[in-house]
């Protein structure tokens, strides 16, 4: 029996996926803009950030409404809770993309440090891939893919640690690099946080499938905001 609830849930699901794609694009653009130091693209991204926030609020309102009106249980409830929780994770991921855009503008025409540049590039690739893949896992209801993605997050954390060590090293070698190195630090931290939020979405994908609340973020994950 097709229920009105199913139609509304399908709509909610589509809206969530659309927001996910938007966040995925924003992360990709933030990484691209930083790598090419494209301040114009970065500013554009900052200017449009509120659109993602508005979508988050609209999705939250819709989930509250559906919970109140339909009083969903079992898998219905899990679908709704997954969206309600994951939408906040996506919004936060987008906030960190916006931070990367700010860093791009702040970096301006300072001298790049090749070693760090390469590591950030690697992190950018992993992060953008993670956010694309988490959407695929969401759409396909693929909890195995979600668990695998959480493993990839470890690699991101390792790179983050390496960038931190290398940045401090650079600062020690040449104090005039301090501002530039600190920006690398921030970008690395932001990308790492995006990976953590993707991993949180992975946890909700597992929950939706199994009803089990799991912890996929590695215990040693650097969670400083």
């Amino acid at each position: 029996m097709r229920r009105l609830f199913d139609d509304e849930l399908a709509e909610l699901d589509a809206d969530f996926t659309e927001m996910g794609m938007l966040v995925s694009e924003v992360v990709q653009q933030a990484v691209d803009a930083f790598m090419s130091r494209d301040a114009v693209a970065a500013q554009k991204l900052i200017d449009h950030d509120h659109e993602i926030n508005q979508r988050e609020i609209a999705l939250e309102q819709k989930t509250f409404e559906m919970i109140a009106l339909y009083q969903p249980v079992t898998t219905d409830l899990r679908e709704i809770v997954t969206i309600l929780k994951a939408v906040s994770e996506l919004e936060r991921a987008a906030d960190h993309a916006r931070n990367v855009a700010h860093s791009t503008i702040k970096f301006g025409s300072k001298q790049k440090i090749p070693g760090l540049e390469q590591l950030i590039g690697e992190m950018g690739q992993i992060t953008t891939r993670m956010i694309r893949d988490v959407l695929a896992a969401y759409v396909n209801k693929d909890d195995h893919a979600a668990r695998e993605l959480a493993e990839i997050d470890r690699k991101l954390d390792q790179l983050n640690h390496q960038i931190r060590a290398d940045s401090y090293q650079q600062m020690r070698l040449d104090p005039t690099f301090e501002t530039g190195a600190s920006i690398y630090l921030n970008v690395s931290q932001d990308l790492s946080r995006i990976g953590d939020y993707v991993t949180n979405v992975c946890e909700w994908i597992v929950y939706r499938k199994s009803g089990q609340i799991v912890e996929l973020n590695p215990a040693n994950s650097d969670s400083a905001d």
């Binding site: 029996m1 609830f5 249980v73 409830l77 009803g211």
Partner: protein, 252 residues
């Protein structure tokens, strides 16, 4: 294994040739609330009525299998139905106070049993009405007709009438389906208070009511017990697809 107060083994019930219960195995530990849910005609009310032999009154009913209350076979030839219904009381869907005063309604069972001690009867009336959470509303009208009360108050007086004979088990057959939300909520609160002292088994079509008040929920379909588990599990993560489909409104 904890000691169950009521056990049902391979219970079959036939209305003539029609098999309405197809081998129910379900046990109840002492105290707490169990909700029986399922679509109309699934056998949940039929099952409830077997638990204090209410189906005896229906012609053409055949029952096989075993129901034991504290190791005593309810369907043994020697079983005393009056005694059984004293220990296993029942509250019905439609509040059914007798056309007497509130006081006489509550002491009905005791009076039939020959109790005449006025002080004792007074005490039982107050205690039962308090337990049924209706004392404060009726204490100044005890000798007025119970029929003058609202539906919700009548139902609580009926619960008090059951409590007055000190049962161990209380069966309820859709006790709130004829009541408005406020009265339903008062009955729910009453049951939540009683569950610490009584074993309560309630049939309900109101799934939210089951999820709000029941410790355990049993899902019946087509005369069979599909699943019984902690209410939380039934409503969050049931083991059976049929259960999930029913409680999320995909059929029924």
């Amino acid at each position: 294994m904890s000691k169950d107060i009521l056990t049902t083994q391979d219970l079959h019930l036939y209305y003539g040739d029609k098999e309405a219960l197809m081998g129910i195995n379900l046990n109840f530990a002492a105290k707490g609330i169990t909700a029986l849910i399922g679509p109309s005609g699934c056998g949940k009310s039929t099952y409830l009525r077997t638990l204090n032999r209410m189906n005896d009154l229906i012609p053409n009913v055949t029952i096989t299998g075993t129901i034991k209350f504290k190791d005593q076979d309810l369907y043994a030839p020697s079983a005393d139905t009056v005694q059984i219904r004293k220990e296993i009381g029942m509250v019905f869907q439609q509040p059914n106070p007798f056309p007497f005063s509130i006081y006489d309604n509550v002491i009905y069972g005791l009076r039939i049993a020959g109790e005449k001690d006025k002080e004792k009867l007074d005490a039982v009336v107050e205690k039962s009405l308090r337990q049924a959470a209706v004392w404060d509303e009726v204490k100044d009208h005890l000798h007025e007709s119970a029929l003058a009360l609202s539906g919700g108050q009548q139902q609580r007086v009926c619960i008090a009438r059951v409590l007055a004979v000190s049962p161990e088990i209380i069966l309820l057959d859709e006790p709130t389906s004829a009541l408005d939300p406020v009265s339903s909520s008062q009955i729910e609160t009453t049951l939540l208070n009683l569950r610490h002292d009584y074993t309560i088994i309630t049939v309900t079509h109101n799934l939210q009511q089951a999820s709000r008040i029941a410790d355990r929920t049993a899902f019946f379909m087509n005369g069979e017990l599909v699943e019984v588990d902690q209410t939380k599990n039934i409503f969050m993560n049931p083991a059976e697809k049929q259960t999930e489909d029913y409680i999320s409104g995909r059929f029924g």
